[in-house]
């Protein structure tokens, strides 16, 4: 089963939930794989402290122009939907940040003057920690395009295990690339107007993607009930509430899994998994 943990709003606790869920299930003997797909700002490794067994760079196919063969006809510029190529009188300029690696320029070049080369965009590290099989991606600084790295990371998915995927915040391309193909998505929110607004956006996104989902309210307190009212109205299950507690925030600040220190939470996370399985079936 593949469960992705997403949120819309940043900083609601996606990484806290995915790492503590993975840890609690692994403690109870489940076979767990955790993938941190927030490749712009990966954090799960801070909590899992994996022993890294494999490092690989990920690259992206980009065009290279053979100046000897190029006649500056401009066909590549015409077919490129991303404006990544520009032709002057005797020069073709290429802007790698805009390229989506569609291969169109090379395919349509009448002189066969474009060949494809690799450009490194990030790195994947894999290993294990706390009996969890773990991998994460790290986008190189200055790179624009995270989806190719996410795709590469998701190739590691081992469906014989319970796969938990930590998603980036937001609702645009990187998030869609991450949650696509999940059996279930857990949406982590917080009881504030920001939390509610961004939860609604994430719900709309999952409806389009046709992925079943439920909500977890983190930093829960009795000051703001709008999340409850919204979920009630939309018939969305709230599967867990984690209270606003300084102790949990402090453990997080130290990079410590709170269910490792506050043991009662391990059962709570196992129950969370049972509820998710129940809703999925």
């Amino acid at each position: 089963m593949i469960i992705s943990i997403a949120s819309g709003k940043g900083g609601t606790g996606k990484t806290t939930i995915s790492t503590n869920l993975a840890f609690s299930l692994a403690q109870k003997g489940h076979k767990i794989q955790l993938l941190d797909c927030d490749v712009e700002e990966p954090n799960a490794h801070i909590f899992i402290k994996p022993k890294v067994e494999l490092k690989e760079t990920t690259s992206f196919v980009v065009p290279q122009i053979d100046e000897e063969k190029c006649t500056y006809c401009g066909e590549c510029v015409r077919v490129c939907a991303y404006n990544a190529l520009f032709v002057a009188k005797d020069k073709v300029m290429f802007f790698p940040q805009l390229c989506h690696s569609c291969g169109g320029c090379a395919y349509f070049c009448p002189e066969k003057a474009i060949f494809e080369t690799n450009r490194e965009i990030g790195e994947i590290e894999a290993g294990s920690g706390y009996s969890i099989e773990f991998a994460y991606g790290k986008l190189n600084i200055g790179e624009v395009m995270s989806p190719p790295l996410i795709k590469r990371l998701k190739k590691r998915i081992d469906e014989d295990k319970v796969v938990i995927i930590d998603a980036p915040p937001g609702t645009s391309c990187p998030v869609i690339e991450v949650v696509k193909g999940s059996d279930f998505c857990l949406l982590v929110t917080e009881p504030t107007p920001f939390g509610l607004n961004d939860l609604k956006l994430a719900v709309e996104m999952l409806k389009v993607l046709k992925i079943p989902f439920a909500v977890l309210i983190n930093r829960w307190n009795e000051e703001y009930f709008e999340i409850d009212s919204y979920c009630d109205k939309e018939n969305i299950s709230i599967v867990m509430r984690i209270p606003l507690e300084r102790k949990i925030a402090e453990l997080y600040s130290e990079g410590v899994l709170f269910s490792k220190e506050l043991l009662e939470w391990q059962d709570a996370f196992c129950k969370l998994f049972d509820s998710i399985e129940g809703l999925w079936k």
């Binding site: 954090n43 569609c102 986008l139 624009v144 609702t171 391309c173 869609i176 607004n197 000051e223």
Partner: protein, 287 residues
């Protein structure tokens, strides 16, 4: 000359939008911009009245006309995004390159413009706000960010306003880079947690990569004083100034629930600290 302050964080939820909401109260003669286009929240504090709504078009979308399709499979073979299967294009996976459209021997692929979102020019109690809403499950957030910033700059020029304050998205990728290019000053809002520090360092690396002037603000600094010390040490080493330290205070949530900027909601210690943060930022900008 128009100056722009862009607020970033790397990690989400460190308090960017709450602080920007307060800057809207404290700054005079400015335009506010929300560049977190796929999870925009600034409007929840500034309560804008929309004056002008504009459509945002991304790349075209493509369809296969099955009446014309000869089922040769050329499109599926050429599609690098694995978006075509059984002579149907999956709009979610499609990245709009149009190669299938150009290569189809039967001209069976049709295309049309796709609306990917909207952007707005609004009026608020604190001055104009330019903001946007990316359509559900749409791509191209970077391009929308550029449009929003361009609209704000044009408005500033026209109305002779010299300051733009931009609330940026989390992360370090496409929409962040689109928010950061050509700005005058970046404020990175971090928090004293291992994750906060890790993500701050990546966003500081990004700022030096693009050679942008940067300051740091430590939000929730008293949550973990040891980690706050660590941030200060890192910033000293990198020669980055700390523009302010803000208390870990439930008042952020209380103000938000009331839909108010923190500095309007309370006169307490936290508000005083936000005011001094703003003064430091403003002075740095005019140095």
């Amino acid at each position: 000359m128009i100056q722009e302050i862009t607020v970033l964080s790397g990690k989400g939820g460190t308090g960017k939008t709450s602080l920007v909401g307060s800057f809207a109260v404290l700054a005079k003669d400015k335009i506010m911009v929300d560049c977190d286009v796929d999870a925009a929240d600034l409007h929840l504090i500034l309560n804008p009245e929309i004056e002008e709504a504009n459509d945002f078009f991304g790349l075209n979308e493509y369809f296969i006309n099955r009446d014309v399709c000869i089922e040769c499979g050329k499109c599926e073979e050429l599609c690098c995004f694995e978006a075509i299967k059984d002579f149907e294009i999956d709009v979610i996976s499609c990245e709009g390159c149009g190669i299938c459209y150009l290569a189809c021997p039967a001209s069976a692929i049709e295309t049309r413009k796709k609306k990917c979102g909207e952007w707005y020019i609004s009026e608020t109690k604190y001055g104009p706000l330019v903001h946007a809403k990316l359509g559900i499950a749409q791509e191209n957030s970077g391009k929308l960010v550029m449009e929003v910033r361009k609209a704000a700059k044009e408005m500033a020029q026209k109305e002779n306003i010299s300051l733009v304050i931009t609330d940026g998205p989390p992360g370090i990728g496409c929409p962040v880079i689109a928010s950061l290019s050509g700005t005058s000053l970046v404020l990175v809002v971090t928090e004293p947690t291992v994750s906060g520090i890790h993500d701050m360092e990546r966003v500081l690396d990004l700022c030096s990569h693009f050679n942008v002037k940067v300051l740091v603000c430590i939000n929730k600094f008293d949550l973990n004083l040891e980690k706050t010390g660590e941030i200060e040490k890192i910033c000293r080493k990198r020669n980055v100034k700390i523009a302010g330290k803000i208390t870990y205070d439930y008042i952020f949530t209380e103000a938000l629930i009331k839909s108010l900027p923190v500095v309007e909601f309370s006169d307490g210690e936290t508000s005083r600290r936000i005011k001094s943060l703003w003064e430091n930022l403003y002075n740095e900008l005019n140095r």
